[in-house]
Symmetry: C2
Subunit: 210 residues, 2 copies
């Protein structure tokens, strides 16, 4: 199996932290997104959404979308403690928080970043006012995490899950928009430090993951 990625991007980081948590090694190929390597017909043939990361299986089948790649490994390896949860209510709760952190967090962060910095204006229309509005919505979203983390150790409850990975990658990424937890968001800060101490997260942050 080969993972096509660009290691420092948030979507690649999500997959890489997940794989490091599971102790999975894969071959990796870097794709030059800024240079437009993902816009070629060759890349589009392996990635339906035209984005990284993409996992190419040994039979040639390909999977894009970071959470789909994580779910593939989870279902293949069936770890005793799944990062997607175990019982029906746990799985639903992880899915809920994973979606909240993505749809009100990471995805809005992408829209803020792309529309404010216009980093990809060679390939998309940028609406700066939407970037600024998205940035404000992100700031307004952080208290939801603070409240949850004041009542639970992790994002989806008392167990580390994929929702923590999504939220952690989001909180790291929005530093590029000059957004950090407010001084009084102490539970969010406690959680962020705790996630950063995980061996898997440290290996991805140091680039020593395999």
């Amino acid at each position: 199996m080969t993972l096509y990625e660009l290691a420092p991007t948030p979507s690649a980081r999500r997959v890489n932290i997940f794989l490091a948590e599971l102790g999975v090694s894969v071959d990796r190929v870097n794709v030059d997104i800024r240079g437009g390597e993902n816009l070629t017909d060759e890349f589009k043939a392996i990635s339906i959404n035209g984005r990284i990361p993409v996992l190419k299986l040994d039979d040639g089948q390909t999977l894009c979308e970071s959470v789909a790649i994580c779910r593939y490994f989870d279902e293949l390896l069936k770890p005793v403690n799944s990062l997607f949860g175990n019982s029906p209510i746990e799985k639903a709760n992880v899915e809920m928080w994973q979606r909240i952190c993505e749809l009100q967090g990471l995805f809005i962060g992408f829209q803020a970043f792309r529309n404010i910095t216009k980093i990809y204006e060679d390939r998309e229309n940028c609406i700066e006012a939407w970037g600024e509005e998205s940035k404000q919505r992100l700031i307004d979203f952080l208290p939801t995490l603070e409240t949850q983390l004041s009542q639970h150790e992790y994002i989806a409850g008392n167990t580390f899950s994929i929702a923590d990975i999504t939220a952690y990658v989001m909180v790291s990424f929005i530093q590029h928009l000059d957004i950090t937890p407010a001084p009084d968001q102490l539970h969010l800060q406690r959680w962020q430090q705790q996630i950063e101490q995980r061996v898997a997260v440290q290996s991805v942050n140091a680039g020593t993951n395999t």
Copy 2:
């Protein structure tokens, strides 16, 4: 169990088609979103994202996010043919298409609709230029579905899945933005008619689902 919803909304339709496909009946309570009933402290106490649908379990626990509610029932009932897929690669493939249809389809449709119509300008800033940009991105996304449906009977392959529900709700919803499949998108039209003939979909469209 009680489902708090507003039946004609796309998110409620996703859950309702899923439940009808599984043959699940639940008690239902309508929430007046337009009137701001979801903005009350009482509603926020049961819905973390402040939105419908929300499922209240018999023990008082609540779940929001439509896909999380669907996954709860899927995991609880474990149907022989899961709408989330069965084998690891099937599950990953369904997750991939579900996310593509949501992140490039339904979610962008919501942003287009809310920012163009300004239906909720009493509670959010609307950026009309982003609404128009989102509308164009939706139009540009439909060929991805047309290509997939020219090669497969359903969105995620040869089996009906939750990705079809998301895509069908999206294609129905974007009619409000005057977007319909183009005359030459014959596979998309064929698929749409096929989905509309399903008993579960007909019951939800007619409002006769339980």
